[in-house]
């Protein structure tokens, strides 16, 4: 320590109330998480590799064997991409859950909780940073998809709409990740707990194969799967093949059902997460 005297420092001040204070604190936390991502680029790179691999494997390995009703040999490629995009955004769950679990075990959550900042900001900041990472991943993925031959055919605006739906879904799912991260005891457990249920969820859907090939009872599950609604909505907005027409209600109103599901998931899980955060003990 140096011999010079430390100045008193600023007088402590009161927490800023309201949404503005919350957003400001969240942005401070988001900045911190985004900085971390640039310091550990492996996380971003590995986050990219998995979906890019899926695009290549499904296009070149399985693509020839899976037929989309009413489509030619190129149709599966067009059909597939929305599914991979959607699966990719839901993987934001793992980032959020592992990140928050790590902050818990490292004592950072205690530090944040002892500061005069908005209670929800640690989680909002985390999910916003994950959203930025997801957006980046989706952008790279879209470029790869474009290179292998995927196209959107309904114009730029509708395509943007589709990406907005995807990011909304990803953001909603990162709140599920937040709750998982607050609930498990280690970052490792958080990663597996964050991913394990995503496989059945994303596969029992219209993401990779047309639902019409599934047994009847499973079809009902797949049609009502929040994930299917977003995939269907994206296919419509991208102007990609949607498989056989169905008279299932959620598939006929896919855009609205997708938005509804995402908002519902966000509302429920952000409420549960913030409540859990208040009482969280490392």
């Amino acid at each position: 320590m140096t011999a010079t005297t430390l100045t008193t420092g600023a007088a402590p001040r009161q927490i800023r109330g309201g949404v503005v204070g919350m957003l400001r604190d969240s942005w401070v936390v988001a900045k911190r998480n985004l900085r971390r991502m640039t310091r550990i680029p492996e996380i971003v790179v590995f986050g990219l590799m998995q979906p890019v691999m899926f695009v290549l494997l499904f296009t070149y390995v399985m693509g020839g064997a899976i037929a989309v009703p009413g489509g030619d040999s190129n149709a599966y490629k067009q059909y597939l991409m929305a599914g991979i995009f959607a699966q990719t955004v839901t993987f934001a769950v793992a980032g959020a859950s592992a990140g928050i679990a790590e902050d818990m075990t490292k004592g950072l959550v205690d530090r944040f909780r002892s500061l005069p900042m908005a209670r929800s900001s640690v989680l909002v900041g985390r999910t916003i940073a994950d959203l930025v990472q997801t957006a980046f991943t989706v952008l790279v993925l879209a470029i790869v998809a474009f290179i292998v031959g995927w196209r959107f055919n309904n114009g730029f605006l509708k395509a943007l709409g589709a990406f907005a739906l995807l990011l909304l879904l990803g953001y909603a799912f990162s709140w599920i990740g937040a709750l998982i991260g607050l609930s498990v005891r280690s970052p490792e457990a958080a990663t597996s707990a964050g991913l394990i249920w995503l496989f059945p969820l994303t596969f029992v859907s219209n993401a990779f194969v047309p639902v019409s090939s599934m047994p009847g009872w499973l079809q009902a599950v797949a049609y009502w799967n929040p994930f299917s609604a977003t995939v269907q909505a994206c296919r419509e907005l991208f102007g990609n093949p949607t498989g056989a027409p169905t008279n299932s209600w959620p598939m006929e109103h896919a855009v609205w059902v997708s938005i509804g599901w995402s908002l519902l998931i966000m509302a429920v899980f952000s409420y549960l997460s913030v409540r859990k955060y208040r009482s969280a003990t490392a």
């Binding site: 320590m1 402590p12 001040r13 009161q14 900085r35 002892s114 005069p116």
Partner: protein, 338 residues
């Protein structure tokens, strides 16, 4: 009576079957340091967590800087600084970024937070490492960064939970100096520690905690006085001489002598200080008992701790665990003595 900067009344907190806090009462007058001493699991950290709004007690009341902890936790958070048991810094941010983030979360403007971070890094001798990520810091550097984070605003009340655990002696001394300076400038401090030496040096008042209760309270001197006065300790060269030596010492003893055959050590409570010591030496010499070591001992906080809790401190326990069974027997004998 001066205003209590920290006060707690009847804090109870259970975790399942465990009563971590079983009615803790505390008060810390403004501008003083309270040392919270206790073995592992005594409730020190739980007490700090309740007072820093991290944990709600099942019952009881507490105020910090006059603000009710349970009713206005947000207000309390703007008045306290906390440095927890492990250095809570973001490993992937630089020292500068870590402190700046904390400053902004203390509601400073970005510019203010930046300036304050720079100032703190200089004061804690971290200026050279300011631009490096904390992952590359040594344990002592991280601890200092963590303490700096607790000082981003100058909070009127600070909580330091085992601030020097894991530090080497040089870093520990340096940190003590920082803490002393803060207190000299008027900060009220609650400090938990497993180093009795640390409590002796830094704390005005000491509260000994065990099984979730405060079992003793007072200044270091008061606590030492509670368990009695000085004693003469003799280590004889040959253990066969132990009975003879006890016999020689008994006229000077004001209580039962304690004999530790392993270490060939006899301890007798005495009064009269150095004069008695001289007499004892002459007596032993006259009886031709060879001594390896002799000394007059005043009680240490270690003794206080032992006599109050019936067990040794964490650091001693850890030593006993790693040493031979013989050492453990010595420890249990030591326990039996008090």
């Amino acid at each position: 009576m001066s205003e209590a900067a920290i006060s707690a009344e009847g804090l109870v907190r259970t975790f399942g079957d465990v009563r971590a806090l079983d009615g803790v009462d505390l008060d810390v007058p403004e501008g003083t340091v309270l040392g919270l001493l206790g073995p592992n699991g005594a409730g020190k950290t739980t007490t700090v967590r309740v007072l820093t709004t991290l944990l709600r007690p099942d019952s009881g009341r507490a105020t910090v800087a006059g603000v009710d902890v349970l009713k206005h936790p947000d207000k309390v958070r703007s008045l306290i600084g906390l440095s927890g048991q492990y250095a809570a810094v973001d490993e992937y941010l630089t020292g500068q970024e870590n402190l700046q983030m904390v400053g902004e979360l203390y509601q400073m403007s970005a510019r203010e937070a930046k300036a304050r971070a720079k100032e703190l890094l200089e004061w804690f001798n971290l200026a050279d490492a300011a631009g490096r990520i904390a992952k590359t810091y040594s344990g002592g550097m991280r601890r200092r960064l963590d303490l700096a984070a607790a000082l981003v605003v100058r909070p009127p009340v600070m909580f330091l939970d085992e601030p020097t655990t894991g530090l080497d002696p040089r870093n520990r001394m340096a940190l003590w100096e920082v803490i002393e300076q803060l207190v000299a400038e008027g900060t009220t401090l609650l400090l938990t520690t497993q180093y009795l030496e640390e409590a002796d040096r830094l704390a005005h008042d000491i509260a000994v905690v065990d099984h979730g209760r405060v079992i003793a309270r007072g200044t270091a001197d008061q606590l030492k006085a509670q368990i009695g006065g000085e004693r003469v300790e003799v280590v004889v060269t040959d253990s066969a001489a132990l009975p003879l030596a006890v016999d020689a010492l008994s006229p000077y003893a004001i209580g039962e002598p304690t004999v530790e055959p392993h270490t060939r050590r006899i301890t007798v409570p005495v009064t009269g200080g150095a004069r008695v010591l001289a007499d004892v030496i002459r007596e032993l010499d006259a009886r031709e008992i060879l001594i390896h070591d002799i000394g007059l001992r005043r009680p240490t906080l270690d003794d206080v701790f032992l006599s109050l809790t019936g067990h040794v401190t964490e650091s001693d326990e850890a030593v006993a665990e790693t040493e031979s069974p013989e050492a453990e027997t010595a420890t249990s004998r030591k326990k039996a003595r008090v």
